[in-house]
Subunit: 306 residues, 2 copies
């Protein structure tokens, strides 16, 4: 899966993943109002609006980017109906040839991680019938419980040709609270990075391991260090746009040849229609503005990588 | 909520939470077969069987224990239908007067954690209608992303009178991999414990903070140390039964007066009907055996706490 992702990034010349993390406030009234009219249940109406909005965004950008990423929280917020929209969005994105990342940040003890892995990436035996409950391609995983919480994901990845990104370093303000604690001479996140690089060897297929890493970093030196510690990891890098980073800041996460990382932007793209820069006329064509924002982001990254 | 939990523990004299983490292999055929007959969709049939099984267990034990805990992975495994069973189980347990813990181990950056907190503990504004998507009472939270990933849960806890258990130390074999790394002179988990104790002060209501901790420990000294570092935290302790610990091993997690902790057992109770000790006649009354197992566990803990 990670080699397939690397291929698609190369073919589209766009190390960009579009975060489908819709909030109701990002969704135009022309979608919300009919959804509220059509569905009697409030959560179902919101979920329907999410789904229609996601389709519009996907239709507008699928030819430009290799992947989309769904933040599961934004769907769980709308209960069972929200999860329905989550699953349907994954399936719709697959129909457009996109790789789908499930940003679920799950992680538990072994047998429970196995259930999460089967749920989000793999299949279950449902009374003799094989079923893929959510069938995303790549999931994000939390490392706090150590290797035996991650191994079941790797087993599913190997069996199904899927992948994971393990949280190594996050770019939120408190990320450093524990991740930067100096443990035996080095920050905790370096220990995690090293352990993941070693663990990932068992599921390496050529250039990339099926185990990649989430690396948000505040300083370029950190990015370089992480890149060095995890030579066979594809890196998923959050923080572009809304969180402040630009293409230049992110150069350090890529290899010398400009490969090996994919940058996420969520609201910077899906809510671009609410920004003067992409929509000086204040219309509500969210898809068209998302396309402009993706093109601008790709341009910015290409410049930084040249 | 944590004071309410402490009260219920006292009234029932049972520091026990029953883990509703059903696997299909724990469910008797007399439930599975009709479920497969009734539902055309395989995942829906499994979810229906889960729900019927959970009701049987709840009916059999609700008068003995203060709380049940649902492991979300076991429901996500069955896709949207599984999540439906998850929500319905929460609601059924509420109807029986139980406190419901959502073992979701979520954790993300601020705005996303807010969505998780609203989803699992709080309410959302769904087009002008207030809705509680899952409405559990207490959720488990992963600390790897630091304070700003936890604060939104605390805000919801304060507003809604709910609680969280933050993972401090887990008892799985690899738990120590990162959690026991020595950071600035002490293991990482002690840093997490101390930070959580401080953070929990802002949501303390009398004896207990709305922020509690998950503390699985391998050695009693660790338990004592954790208890000491978090004087106002209710501790959720996994590992009883199937994971090997007995009442005596767990004494260290309780305060001198025998309060302040609640012990989880999952398969030891819900799959007790498959064990010789609770079912020498090999019948399939899962509820009756669960009740025996709960009574034995309560007896064991009372003895250890006396």
């Amino acid at each position: 899966m990670m080699n397939r992702l690397a291929d698609l990034i190369r073919r589209k010349n766009a190390p960009v993943v579009v975060g489908l993390d819709p909030q109701l406030s990002f969704i135009p009234d022309r979608i919300l109002r009919p959804a509220y009219m059509e569905r009697g249940d409030a959560l179902g109406a919101c979920a329907l609006a999410l789904m229609i909005f996601n389709k519009e965004i996907i239709d507008a950008v699928y030819d430009l980017v290799p992947a989309v990423k769904l933040q599961s929280a934004m769907y769980e917020m709308f209960g069972v109906s929200g999860i329905d929209a989550y699953r349907d969005t994954i399936s719709y994105a697959h129909g457009k040839g996109l790789i789908v990342m499930a940003d679920v940040k799950r992680g538990d003890i072994g047998s429970t991680s196995e259930a999460y892995a089967k749920a989000h990436l793999g299949s279950v035996d449902a009374g003799g019938h094989v079923r893929y409950p959510f069938d995303a391609d790549i999931a994000t995983v939390n490392p706090y419980l150590g290797t035996d919480g991650i191994q079941p994901f790797l087993d599913v990845c190997r069996a199904e040709g899927k992948g994971i990104f393990v949280l190594v370093k996050t770019s939120n303000p408190s990320g450093k609270e524990f991740q930067d604690l100096i443990c035996e001479g080095r920050p905790l996140y370096e220990h995690v990075a090293e352990r993941m690089a070693a663990l990932g060897e068992s599921v390496r297929e050529g250039e990339y391991s099926l185990l990649g890493a989430v690396t948000g970093a505040t300083y370029p030196e950190e990015g370089r260090r992480l890149r060095e510690l995890m030579p066979h990891q594809m890196l998923l890098v959050p923080g572009y746009g809304a969180q402040g980073a630009t293409g230049r800041d992110l150069r350090a996460f890529f290899k010398e040849d400009g490969t090996g990382a994919i940058i996420n932007s969520s609201r910077g793209i899906i809510a671009a229609w609410q920004k003067e820069a992409f929509n000086p006329e204040h219309h509500d064509d969210a898809g068209a503005c998302a396309r402009l924002a993706v093109q601008a982001m790709i341009g910015d990254l290409r410049k930084a990588l040249d």
